[in-house]
């Protein structure tokens, strides 16, 4: 259960100065063929001599053959990974975690709210929705620090052509930026009024998630219709090592996807929870 399988980096897309998307395939072709996963799940990624880190799928299982993981350069492992050229081998084990409830979301209007690398797991969901065609309208609100930091630009272009209402904002503008300036919550009023079948999927920095969830609640979304995915320090990915312990939940097996309802019901009295209210 801790044994990684070898995967080759087939392609690398530079999303911005700190984020790269890796297209990967298991070198065992049989294993690759039988490999399945769902949006919202994650893999434990091994890089030689650097240990492991949990990384969410950025790709959708509707496009088999390879998987994509988007990685922000942050620590030792991710820095080493960023230095590897295409053709290099890494180790992967998984998939782990509870995915987004794709079945239950069928037919709903989806409002995605993302910040920075937080778009990676939602990219998996958006691609899944577009490929399967079973979902309602799709709106994406995406916040970045500066115009140069806007990641997944090629995807955003494709999504726009496919009918996704993509609205971008940056915290700090530069001279040639024509779009919205301000944190991602400043885009929320533009989406009003929300249809009665709207479900929102939120991912980004913890502070952003907090503010977005508060505003979505004020906009009338029910707790079960606000879904987020959480990031924690993890070592095993299978609910044993204890690191992602949150009340009686383990983020790695009980999450990382949680609805606001699940968060407030199960960890309402727990101070360790993020300040979701």
């Amino acid at each position: 259960m801790y044994l990684p399988s070898q995967a080759v980096i087939q392609d690398i897309t530079i999303e911005n100065s700190r984020i790269k998307t890796y297209t990967l395939a298991f070198t065992d072709k049989e294993y690759q063929r039988n490999f399945s996963y769902a949006p919202g799940q994650f893999m434990m990624v091994s890089v030689p001599h650097c240990g492991e880190a949990p990384i969410s799928f950025a790709s959708s299982p509707t496009r088999p053959g390879t998987i994509e993981l988007s990685v922000r350069k942050a620590g030792e492992l991710t820095s080493r990974l960023h230095s590897l050229p295409a053709g290099s081998m890494i180790g992967l084990r998984g998939p782990y975690g509870k995915p987004f409830p794709m079945e239950e979301l069928a037919g709903k209007d989806l409002l995605f709210v993302a910040g920075g690398i937080g778009l990676a797991p939602l990219r998996s969901v958006i691609t899944f929705c577009l490929d399967s065609g079973k979902y309602g309208t799709i709106t994406l609100l995406y916040g970045s620090r500066t115009p140069e930091d806007i990641a997944f630009q090629a995807d955003i272009e494709m999504w726009r052509k496919a009918g996704v209402d993509c609205r971008l904002t940056v915290d700090e503008s530069s001279s040639d930026w024509q779009g919205n300036v301000g944190v991602v919550t400043t885009l929320l009023p533009q989406t009003m009024p929300l249809s009665s079948s709207t479900v929102s999927l939120v991912c980004g920095p913890l502070v952003m998630i907090d503010f977005v969830i508060k505003e979505l609640t004020q906009m009338g979304l029910k707790d079960e219709d606000i879904i987020t995915t959480m990031e924690r320090h993890m070592k095993c990915g299978v609910g044993v090592c204890g690191h992602c312990h949150m009340d009686d939940k383990m983020i790695c097996v009980d999450g990382p996807v949680f609805s606001k309802k699940e968060l407030t019901e199960s960890v309402a009295h727990f101070q360790e929870k993020p300040t979701v209210t």
Binding site: Y2, A74, H233, G242, M246
Partner: protein, 344 residues
């Protein structure tokens, strides 16, 4: 065959020698510094098994070593990156295992069975024979009566020994225990009615002689229904030195970390080591952000044992061994916490 047998004390060494032939033998031994530890015994003739003192550490580290290489990996010149399992399980006889430590082992069986059997743990576990020893006299900090894990745990062992003075009462538990009794039947006589009465009397006396009076049940009920006062946490946090000692001596603290230890440019080992949820860095993420404030580390440890494990597994994972009471120089032990909860 009756369900209980008698082994004369004079025959203990030869019996232990027989059953541990070809196996490693682990039993409590008091070393030259006066420390009683579960130790590997290579020569029974020159080593005295100590059945009188409480071992200072549990048997946890024989199943979940403090540091254990679980995988080896290689990186070839061409970049091939491969892992292979390192599975080590030496056939081992554990003699003289106290009820609290057996209860800890049974808890680890549960923890390492989900979501699948942990191969490194079970390689050791399945190679073990557990012979427990009832505690005629509770030790200074013991409260296993309150956690319902002793002083004479009735299940989970292969054989259970009770010290009746000049003889041991021996009872089979799991199938392997019965097989041992059948294989070495010549060591044993059937226990008499009086032997069983003697054991019953000893158990009664033991249960009535605990020095610690700890209301675990009440604390569990209160924790399930109420928040613990901020002052209680603050008082404990002020005294915690973040040393991890409590987690290390605890029979049921199983949190671990995993790191790579390169041996050379082209190879290395992936190592699983003990971690402690009381360490400030336990939840710290890359870049230094910690989603869990450090003042909550004690809360995590105590509530895990007395609240979350109760809701998940229907029983506390504290086995009442009292070791965290003895090891903490700040006095931040589980008895103090339970008392504070009960009094608040």
């Amino acid at each position: 065959m009756s369900a209980a047998y008698i082994l004369a004390k004079d025959h203990l060494k030869s019996f232990v020698r027989k059953i541990s032939k070809g196996s490693r033998l682990i039993a409590p031994v008091t070393n030259e510094y006066g420390d009683t530890l579960y130790s590997e015994i290579n020569c029974l003739d020159s080593t005295q098994i100590d059945t009188q003192h409480q071992p200072q550490s549990s048997i946890k580290h024989f199943f979940l070593p403090q540091q254990e290489s679980i995988l080896s990996y290689s990186v070839s010149q061409a970049g091939e990156y491969h892992f292979s399992n390192i599975l080590i399980g030496v056939p081992t006889v554990f003699f003289g295992v106290r009820s609290c430590d057996l209860a800890g082992l049974l808890y680890m069986d549960v923890i390492f069975s989900n979501p699948a059997k942990d191969p490194y743990y079970f390689k050791k576990r399945e190679n073990s024979i557990i012979i427990s020893l009832g505690c005629n006299e509770p030790f200074e900090n013991c409260f296993c009566n309150a956690t319902k894990s002793g002083p004479f745990l009735d299940f989970g062992f292969d054989l259970r020994f009770t010290d009746l003075g000049d003889r041991f009462l021996v009872e089979p538990g799991r199938k392997r225990g019965m097989e041992i009794l059948e294989e070495f039947a010549y060591f044993f006589n059937d226990a008499s009615e009086q032997d069983l009465k003697d054991q019953y009397q000893l158990q009664l006396e033991s249960r009535s002689s605990f020095q610690q009076n700890v209301h675990v049940d009440l604390a569990i009920k209160k924790l399930a229904n109420e928040e613990v006062g901020k002052d209680v946490w603050q008082d404990l946090a002020d005294r915690c030195q973040d040393c991890g000692g409590c987690a290390y001596v605890c029979p049921t603290c199983t949190c671990f970390t995993i790191t790579d230890q390169p041996v050379s440019e082209s190879e290395g080992e992936r190592v699983r080591s003990w971690d402690a949820c009381t360490f400030a860095g336990f939840t710290r993420m890359v870049g230094g952000h910690n989603p869990v404030s450090s003042e909550h580390s004690l809360r995590r440890r105590f509530l895990h044992k007395l609240k979350y494990d109760v809701s998940l597994h229907n029983r506390t994972s504290c086995t009442g061994c009292g070791r965290c009471v003895g090891i903490c120089f700040g006095g931040v032990d589980i008895i103090k916490f339970i008392s504070a909860v009960c009094e608040s």
